[in-house]
């Protein structure tokens, strides 16, 4: 049976990817609210997803505040789809 992608098989990273798969883009505050995570932890997991090439992170400014926006990449989309397929295999769905 195909091994589950270790980058995705983690609660917070999988939650972030599940959200991003359903939207065009989402900002850091939205992801933090939806995943009910801490800013520090979310930031670390976003970096891991970004380093794996699964998401792109854009940092901009709104007035004097920074705004971080995340968007899933084609590589991330493919990895997520493969992850779901592998899950189905494990669960015999």
């Amino acid at each position: 049976m195909k091994e589950l992608d270790p980058i995705l098989h983690s609660q917070l990273r999988l939650a972030v990817m599940s959200i991003l798969m359903n939207v065009e883009e989402a900002d850091f505050v939205y992801l933090k609210e939806q995943t009910e995570s801490t800013a520090g932890n979310l930031s670390v997991q976003i970096d891991k997803l970004s380093n794996a090439g699964y998401i792109t992170v854009t940092k901009g400014f709104v007035g004097k505040k920074t705004r971080t926006t995340c968007q899933v990449t084609e590589q991330g989309r493919k990895a997520f789809e493969e992850y779901v397929e592998a899950l189905k295999g494990y669960l015999n769905l």
Partner: protein, 207 residues
Amino acid sequence: MEEKKMTERESLELITSMIQRTRERYIGDGNILLMWGYLTVIVTALVWIMLVMTHNPAWNWLWFAIGIVGGIATPIMSRKSDLKSGVKSYSDKITSQIWTIVGLASVVATVFCFGFGLKGFNAWGMMFAIPLLIVPMAEMAQGIIVKERSLVVGGAIGLCVGLFTFCCIVGNARLLINWFLPLFMVAFACMMIIPGHVINHKARQQR
């Protein structure tokens, strides 16, 4: 939520739960619709009153206030709304592109009218039919995408008025200000003001 390993079943449940949350997201606001609706109705009322009182066609220049004020306010309000929600869905992207096309089509139509004017033809009557044909179609498309009935119904009413206006122009029936401008205002109230308030009411209930 912490970073921890999960069973396969927990993974699937988490994915389902996150998909559900993005679906239950903030509906958005109807403020841009309200801005265009009130702006159009107020300017139309102003032009109507001034034309009736002064009989000076120069007051028709006021129509440009709709495009100028709306054109400046829309990107500002749209950006503010995006920042407030923190997320941009695929339907947001599609509807935004639809409205951009409507905006560009309106600019092109205005240029054509000016061009006809330079050649001695008065095509400005079409500027009543065009917004009542393009805007309702875009609005109905948006209503179907976001599943908002008030947009579909409002758009359908606007489209009926638009088709009627188009028939009047093609059939050389005169669009007299005393009946056409009130009809134009009613169409925009149905298309933009009522759906705008309905959407804002739903958004308030959702919060």
